[in-house]
């Protein structure tokens, strides 16, 4: 069988006013980019709770992108700065949890920057592809040994009970 290239699954949180519209514009302009980023619309990048990112990763996403209006151009004046602060904080924590930095990314795209957003997406997908699959849930799956050991214990106890 031919070796399949790994296609990462990426969740993108895009703000309603700039980056979501940039994605709309990329569509209207028929700019092609990889299909790996699945977009969730939020009103503002400031709405993106670190828990959203963690949730996506914990469910098996290979990467998460957050996109907002350019600094200084936030529809909500300055909330994208809060997104930026949280992004840095989250990255700092994720590093400590052994997660590759390139799996989350914050980008800015104004409503006019369909092309730029598409480029960001392409770059990000490439970078995540290079990192390979994340499969976070497999991280805390013990191997089969766990079940056997518990079973064995039950078995042993049952047998010893019979003896008594």
């Amino acid at each position: 069988m031919a070796e399949e290239t790994f296609e990462p699954k990426i969740v993108g949180f895009l703000c309603n006013w700039c980056s979501y519209r940039a994605a709309d514009l990329a569509g209207t302009a028929r700019i092609k980019y990889p299909p790996n980023v699945r977009i969730i619309r939020v009103m503002c990048s400031g709405r993106v709770d670190p828990a959203f990112v963690l949730k996506a990763l914990s469910l098996g996403a290979d990467g998460v992108m957050i996109a907002g209006c350019h600094p200084g151009e936030c529809h909500y004046i300055e909330q994208n700065y809060k997104a930026m602060r949280r992004y840095h904080m989250l990255k700092h924590t994720l590093r400590a949890l052994g997660l590759e930095e390139d799996r989350i990314r914050l980008v800015w795209a104004s409503a006019a920057e369909g092309q730029q957003l598409a480029e960001h997406i392409e770059e990000f997908v490439d970078d995540v592809r290079k990192l390979g699959p994340l499969h976070w849930p497999s991280n805390f799956q013990e191997n089969g040994e766990r079940w056997h050991a518990v079973e064995a214990l039950a078995q042993e106890h049952a047998e010893s009970l019979e003896v008594l």
Partner: protein, 190 residues
């Protein structure tokens, strides 16, 4: 692939400069305002002002640019760079043009390449610059007549202990030369 405009567009010579000079891609931002040409202390004597050179690069006039005297008149004062409204690293572009011109021996009517060559040869050999050696070798081979005029000045420098007869050599010349050899081997910054 999403279009990467810069790498694909622009004249071949522009592409070459972009490869040769860190920051060379800023050329595409040139407004042709002439701040560089106006600021240059030698601007009045240049065949083409730096602004014109940038336009010529964009227009792919490679031969004309490499033969120009512009870059040889550049004294690395960085006035143009500091004032450029588009943050174009003009001085570094001039260095790049000098290098290409030297590599291809395209320069005309200037002794600057010889000076640079003599200077770097001495550096490679001793690890320090050696003014008397530089002056004597450079003038002897390139401008024997001018040497006569330099006499009195050289003498006054010498009597004030400002010119040494022997070069200083650094201790670890081998190490320096190994580094330089490696650089030559790697060739170029990009």
């Amino acid at each position: 692939m999403v279009g990467h405009t810069l790498e694909l567009r622009g004249s071949p010579f522009l592409q070459e400069i972009i490869r040769e000079v860190p920051g060379g891609e800023r050329i595409v931002h040139c407004l042709q305002c002439g701040t560089c040409g106006g600021s240059c202390p030698n601007g009045a004597d240049m065949e083409y002002t730096p602004r014109t050179i940038l336009a010529m690069i964009t227009a792919n006039q490679r031969d004309k640019v490499l033969k120009a005297n512009t870059m040889w008149f550049c004294v690395s004062c960085y006035s143009c760079v500091s004032r450029c409204p588009q943050k174009i690293p003009i001085t570094d572009i001039m260095y790049g043009l000098k290098r290409i011109s030297i590599r291809e021996k395209a320069y005309q009517e200037t002794d600057a390449p010889a000076l640079a060559k003599t200077f770097t040869d001495l550096l490679d050999k001793y690890g320090r610059s050696f003014e008397l050696g530089l002056a004597s070798r450079y003038y002897l081979f390139n401008r024997p007549l001018a040497m006569l005029k330099m006499g009195p000045m050289g003498l006054s420098m010498f009597t004030r202990g400002r010119m040494s007869l022997t070069p200083t050599r650094i201790r670890n010349v081998d190490q320096l030369q190994a580094i330089i050899r490696k650089a030559r081997e790697l060739g170029g910054v990009s």
